[in-house]
């Protein structure tokens, strides 16, 4: 069916049979993407709510974990993601101007930055592994004053950053697809909806991190 849709298209290669024109299709895609991001927001919202409740319940235990968070890597990663959002914007801009090579370059740069983030994240996870800070039977924590309470923070840390990293991996996969499609001349100044949509998604994932960083790394540094 997907092939038929392309055949049926009249003036734009990306126009699907059931839309009247490209404008309608673009509006539909954009609205759809925003609705999807709302869904994502609620998805992360469940974890943010749990975080808020437990931090309120165990403020001291939560604050005590900051010393074991690698703030340097966290900060570098924050910078990396902000840069990658910037290169993503440039990629979207380039394709809107029809500049194929620039688009590929910026997408590749975004992908590289995304991978840098994931590699650094891996380094952090490895540290946690070495320190026995992975929640579960092997969990150990030097400061015994808080019993098992700190484990909940590490649980949330892994759940939240893990879900975030999963979204990064999906995003990286999407960018690879975009690079291939751009190279095959599938996008043009007239039709580049997928690039724009992946751009929105990428920015969303970055914004989630902007919240995760202070909430998870800087708790003990606030007062």
């Amino acid at each position: 069916m997907a092939e038929n849709e392309t055949v049926l298209a009249t003036h734009s290669p990306g126009l699907q049979h059931h839309f009247d024109d490209s404008a309608q299709q673009l509006e539909a895609s954009t609205l759809g993407m925003w609705m999807f991001l709302v869904t994502e927001l609620m998805f992360f919202g469940g974890m943010f709510a749990s975080y808020t409740i437990y931090r309120n319940m165990y403020p001291d235990a939560f604050a005590s974990t900051s010393q074991f968070m690698n703030v340097t890597i966290g900060a570098i990663n924050t910078g990396v993601l902000i840069c990658s959002s910037f290169t993503m914007v440039l990629a979207v801009r380039s394709i809107q101007l029809g500049r194929k090579n620039a688009t590929i370059a910026f997408l590749t740069l975004t992908l590289v930055l995304g991978c840098v983030f994931l590699v650094l994240k891996y380094v952090e996870y490895h540290e946690k592994w070495v320190d026995h800070h992975i929640p579960g039977p092997g969990f150990e924590y030097a400061d015994l004053r808080y019993g098992r309470q700190v484990q909940i923070l590490f649980y949330l840390y892994f759940a939240m950053t893990g879900m975030h990293a999963l979204h990064m991996i999906v995003g990286a996969g999407l960018i690879v697809t975009l690079i291939v499609m751009t190279a095959r001349n599938r996008f043009s100044a007239e039709w580049n909806t997928p690039v724009e949509m992946v751009g929105l998604y990428w920015h969303f994932v970055d914004v989630v991190w902007i919240f995760l960083f202070p909430l998870l790394y800087l708790i003990g540094h606030t007062s």
């Binding site: 059931h18 749990s50 409740i53 039977p137 019993g147 590490f154």
Partner: protein, 546 residues
């Protein structure tokens, strides 16, 4: 499935339609036609309905004697799997994924949903989730109740909780994608002249449903992820011995699962508006109020979840607010019931099968809704929560309401979907059997509940015996009632008389401007709307409602 995979009998082939456009399993499993996807869903959810129903029958047989037929663990698994399958794999997708999927594009004059491939994807995700859940069933079942309360589910249960939770988690994305598709479609795909104030109320109610699907479902998804991880790691997020809070799970769970009951009932209300209008030959009384009451329900539905926690130790003042909001949400529901009833006033009322189901819906939903007020009234809730009163209330809304509407809708649009008519006599008979069986099954449970019989009891004291026997007797009638339509509808699909384009003389683009059964792209000529919805009186006029 076999009925649709093969070419229909000769005669119907005169005209190209979505059913005969293409043959072979590939043309179904890779279709992006919303009508074919709706049929894929129809067969899948019917399968799940009968699996879930079989569990219900076994439960009722078990409860025939106070000591039970099976052992306690078996019974606990039966009600858990009945709940999980019926809620997540039948009720949530039922009307939206079948009738909604089939009709929304046609009702608004579109060739398809906005994202046809995502629509197909949502069906695959649903099936994938279903497979996980069925695996949990086949490998020995789950015994946590469909509510998965921690720490029982996270620590104490030794059944296949994770498999079942993964199934529910996965199928949630199917629901999200359906909702997302509907919202975008309703916003962006309306044909010329189809303004918001001319939308059929079916579409309005589905729009409200879709909002809840998109906003609520991700929360249950993440809750189940946290629960599954907790079960593997025992890190304590819901385990009080490690510092976790089991009530937090209940909050997160009901934040989705209460709105979810509106995901289930709003589409039933969607169907009701169409049935009452068509079989009364009247414009729905107070169109604007009915439309906006759907949105009102959608918004309020997110503010009432705490009424499941009145006895859990939640702050009494929080309970007070939730009690108030829960009563407030009854107002838009009442508005709908009154408006449907008022629509019948001075109408031309036909007693065709779909309208019989509509009568059933109005009555039973009224009872379900009113008993909801009992549960929202805190002092009463303290006594009846977690008893059979809740079971009866829930089934009056879901089976007496939702399933009645679903059956009514299925009969109403059967000619549209298949191009054939169903046997009216059998259909009326089945509707009557279902109505009688339903009331006999669930009415005694209201009494049982107030007498204090707790839900999820594998064994029960002797004094509850009589009412349980009555309930089981009713269930056997109800079970037969559901099998009859299954048989005659399957028969009529191949052998029923051919239907004219608009057998009920109904209003709406899907009947008036689209052939029956519809062609692949729904309309032979691009539809244009020039009159308000339900213009049965033939008066062309525009008026501001709501």
């Amino acid at each position: 499935m076999s009925t649709t995979l093969q070419p229909p009998s000769p005669g119907i082939e005169a005209k190209a339609n979505y059913l005969n456009a293409d043959y072979g399993w590939k043309s179904w499993l890779f279709t992006t036609d919303h009508k074919r996807i709706a049929l894929l869903y129809l067969f899948s959810i019917t399968t799940f309905f009968f699996i879930g129903g079989a569990f219900a029958v076994l439960m009722r047989i078990h409860l025939l004697s106070p000591e039970g037929m099976f052992d306690n663990d078996t019974y606990n698994k039966l009600f858990t799997m009945h709940g999980i399958i019926m809620v997540f794999f039948f009720l949530v997708p039922s009307i939206p994924a079948t009738l909604g999927n089939f009709l929304i594009p046609m009702m608004i004059g579109s060739r398809d949903l906005a994202f046809p491939r995502i629509n197909l994807l949502s069906w695959y995700i649903y099936i994938f989730g279903g497979i996980f859940t069925l695996m949990a069933v086949v490998r020995g079942g789950v015994d946590t109740g469909w509510t998965f309360y921690a720490p029982f589910s996270s620590t104490y249960s030794n059944t296949h909780v994770i498999l079942a939770a993964v199934g529910v988690f996965v199928s949630g994305f199917s629901s999200i994608l359906t909702g997302l598709n509907f919202i975008v479609t309703i916003h962006k795909m309306r044909c010329p002249g189809m303004t918001w104030s001319r939308l059929p109320l079916f579409v309005w109610a589905h729009y409200a449903t879709a909002l809840i699907q998109v906003l609520g479902t991700p929360v249950i998804a993440i809750t189940l992820v946290l629960l599954g991880l907790e079960r593997i790691l025992h890190a304590g997020i819901f385990d009080p011995t490690l510092g976790g809070d089991p009530i937090l799970f209940q909050h997160l769970f009901w934040f989705y699962s209460h709105p979810a009951v509106y995901i289930m009932i709003l589409p039933g209300m969607a169907v009701m508006s169409e049935l009452v209008a068509c079989y009364s030959r009247k414009r729905i009384f107070g169109y604007g109020f009915v439309a906006f009451s759907s949105l009102g329900i959608a918004v309020l539905s997110f503010l009432v979840w705490g009424h499941h926690l009145f006895v859990s130790g939640q702050s009494m003042y929080a309970s007070m607010v939730f009690s108030f909001m829960s009563m407030a949400v009854a107002v838009p529901s009442a508005i709908k019931v009154f408006n449907w009833t008022a629509t019948m006033y001075r109408g031309s009322i036909s007693w065709d099968t779909p309208m019989l189901y509509a009568f059933g819906f109005i009555g039973l939903f009224t009872m379900g809704g009113l008993t909801g007020l009992f549960l929202a009234t805190m002092a009463i809730d303290v006594h009846v929560t977690d008893t059979y009163f809740v079971i009866a209330h829930f089934h009056y809304v879901m089976v007496g309401g939702m399933v009645m509407a679903y059956m009514g809708g299925l009969h109403f649009w059967f000619p549209k979907i298949t191009g054939r008519l169903y046997p009216e006599g059998w259909a009326k008979f089945a509707a009557l059997v279902i109505f009688v069986g339903f009331n006999l099954t669930f009415f005694p449970q209201f009494i049982l509940g107030y007498l204090g019989m707790p839900r999820r009891y594998a064994t029960y004291p002797e004094e509850f015996h009589l009412l349980n026997v009555m309930s089981t007797a009713g269930a056997s009638i109800l079970g037969v009632g559901y099998v009859i339509p299954m048989i005659y509808l399957a028969w009529a699909w191949r052998n029923g008389p051919l239907s004219p384009q608009n057998p009920w003389k109904a209003k709406g683009l899907e009947w008036e401007q689209s052939p029956t059964p519809p062609p692949t792209f729904n309309f032979d000529t691009p539809p244009i709307v020039t009159e308000p919805a339900y213009n049965y009186s033939g008066e062309v006029e525009e008026e501001a409602h709501g």
